[in-house]
């Protein structure tokens, strides 16, 4: 390989972990990472969790220690945004007009949070994805009296939980009749949604947001049914879209993510890979193309890319896994609940929290949702990996 080496676009989990994984595999050529945000690589989950809780100092959690970063031997350029790619000339153009050449390119630009019309420029309305978001929300929370989370997904729920611990009056607004129903089904969605009300948060479901109130600064959220919720702090948590705008003129296949093969090689473009939230690829466990916005997925992708680049065998396949921390509870999900339905459900009682096992039409375990029981989660994860028949499942409910 010539001297330009690997260029990783995105100082994200996927981007940084790819560099780590390459070095661990003995890759000795130059590695350059460019990151749009002006911060050293930081961990994303704390943005909507620890970074906005009152008992923490709110500092970003570094993805690597200073020594680890040093030892990695990468040319890390933060505050540099990639704005265009020419895959024929093998050049990435940055927002300062610089042209960065590469032999191998890894696209790890992640996703951008969706927002709602009217949110832009309105003080007090935020999304939760970056350090800046967390700092702004954290600064606003102690004085916030009426807080609204739009969307009862993980971001909305984690934010609502943090806002509650700051003592605010919190309302969660969800468009679906039941939170998370599209992912987990109505029964389990209702169990998890119940955490809001159990913790003094108002949950409004089946309700669309019509508009924001206020000039310059938000004062309320008006719903489709005409009600206006008073609000001095709002977080919009209505999902995210792949950050692929900078690839618009590149000719790369983009279809809700950068389209890759099973080893995360971008289809039709030698030497170009994608990793993490931005990558759409056929998950080897399922064989169908998907895009997964999970922290663990970004770690796994890093290893898949590093193995492909260095000519090593593909790493072991692992099932999708995600967690969320809300109101002092940890929710863990393994597998793909959407492949089946919740066939065994345990509701919370004195000595345990909720849990559910999902099976497909053939009666095979495909997923599990577990609250505050990591040991159970690991048992069910094993069943998901082994595609255990439900009849043979050894579970305490």
């Amino acid at each position: 390989m010539s001297a330009m080496g690997i260029l990783i676009v995105g100082a994200s989990i996927a981007g940084v972990r790819t560099a780590q994984s390459l070095r661990k595999s003995g890759f000795a050529d130059p590695v350059t990472i460019v990151g749009a945000e002006p911060y050293l690589p930081y961990d994303k989950p704390p943005v909507s969790k620890d970074m906005i809780l009152p008992e923490t100092d709110g500092a970003p959690v570094p993805l690597l220690g200073a020594e680890e970063l040093d030892a990695l031997g990468v040319d890390l350029r933060v505050g540099v945004r990639a704005v265009a790619l020419d895959p024929v000339a093998r050049v990435v153009v940055t927002d300062t007009g610089e042209e960065l050449g590469y032999d191998i390119l890894v696209i790890a630009t992640g996703v951008s949070p969706r927002t709602l019309p009217g949110a832009e420029g309105l003080i007090g309305v935020h999304t939760m994805r970056t350090v800046e978001d967390a700092l702004a929300v954290r600064a606003a929370l102690p004085a916030a009296r009426h807080v609204v989370a739009i969307g009862a997904g993980f971001i909305g729920a984690e934010f609502a939980s943090a806002a509650r611990s700051h003592g605010a009056d919190v309302t969660v607004v969800e468009a679906q009749p039941v939170p998370l129903a599209h992912l987990l089904g109505a029964r389990v969605g209702a169990l998890l949604g119940g955490l809001h009300e159990a913790n003094g948060v108002t949950l409004l479901t089946g309700t669309q947001v019509e508009r924001f109130e206020g000039t310059g600064r938000v004062t309320g959220v008006t719903l489709a049914d005409g009600r206006t919720l008073p609000a001095d702090l709002v977080v919009v948590g209505v999902g995210a879209t792949p950050a692929t705008g900078w690839l618009a003129t590149s000719g790369l296949p983009v279809d809700d993510g950068v389209v890759c093969d099973e080893r995360l090689r971008v289809r039709g473009f030698d030497g170009v890979y994608a990793a993490g939230d931005v990558a759409r690829w056929p998950h080897p466990m399922y064989g169908v193309e998907m895009r997964i916005e999970h922290w663990t997925n970004a770690n796994e992708h890093a290893e898949i890319v590093a193995a492909a680049v260095t000519g090593a065998p593909a790493p072991r396949v692992r099932p999708p896994y995600v967690w969320s921390d809300q109101y002092g509870h940890r929710i863990q999900i393994v597998g793909r609940p959407g492949l089946g339905r919740a066939v065994r459900v345990r509701t919370a009682a004195d000595d345990h929290q909720a849990a559910a096992v999902y099976a497909d039409e053939d009666g095979t375990v495909v997923a599990a949702v577990v609250v505050d029981d990591p040991r159970l989660l690991m048992r069910l994860r094993r069943a998901v990996i082994a595609r255990t028949p439900l009849d043979a499942l050894d579970a305490p409910f």
């Binding site: 972990r17 780590q20 994984s21 661990k24 680890e68 922290w295 663990t296 770690n299 796994e300 890093a302 290893e303 790493p315 072991r316 692992r318 896994y321 967690w323 863990q332 990591p374 040991r375 989660l377 690991m378 048992r379 994860r381 094993r382």
Partner: protein
């Protein structure tokens, strides 16, 4: 370092692990593989401080942390996948008269 009695062989089912806090400040995870071998490592995942003995899943000679799915080889302590990059300290184990001794 000395050999210390940690537990009985029968305290661990094959393919399971436990946390032993009897060795002072450092908790130690003790594992019994499906093959009947015993191993011991430092109990705490090097990635994000979680007990490996208590809640993790033992797959052969590999322990998987339940929080972020970091994986370690219990025989060598080696970190096998991200997010773990630092290995686990390992301890010598001896089985004698149905009892497990750990050198620590």
């Amino acid at each position: 370092m000395e050999w210390r009695l940690a537990c009985g062989v029968d305290d661990l089912e094959p393919g399971t692990s436990m946390t032993w806090k009897g060795a002072g400040e450092e908790p130690i995870a003790i594992y019994r593989t499906e093959d009947g071998e015993f191993y011991a490592t430092h109990d705490v995942c090097t990635h994000d401080r979680w007990s490996l003995g208590e809640d993790s899943d033992l797959e052969g000679a590999e322990i998987v942390c339940p929080l972020h799915m970091a994986r370690f080889d219990i025989r060598t302590g080696a970190a096998l996948c991200l997010p773990a990059t630092i290995g686990l300290k390992t301890y010598e184990v001896q089985v004698e008269d149905g009892k497990i001794y750990v050198q620590c």
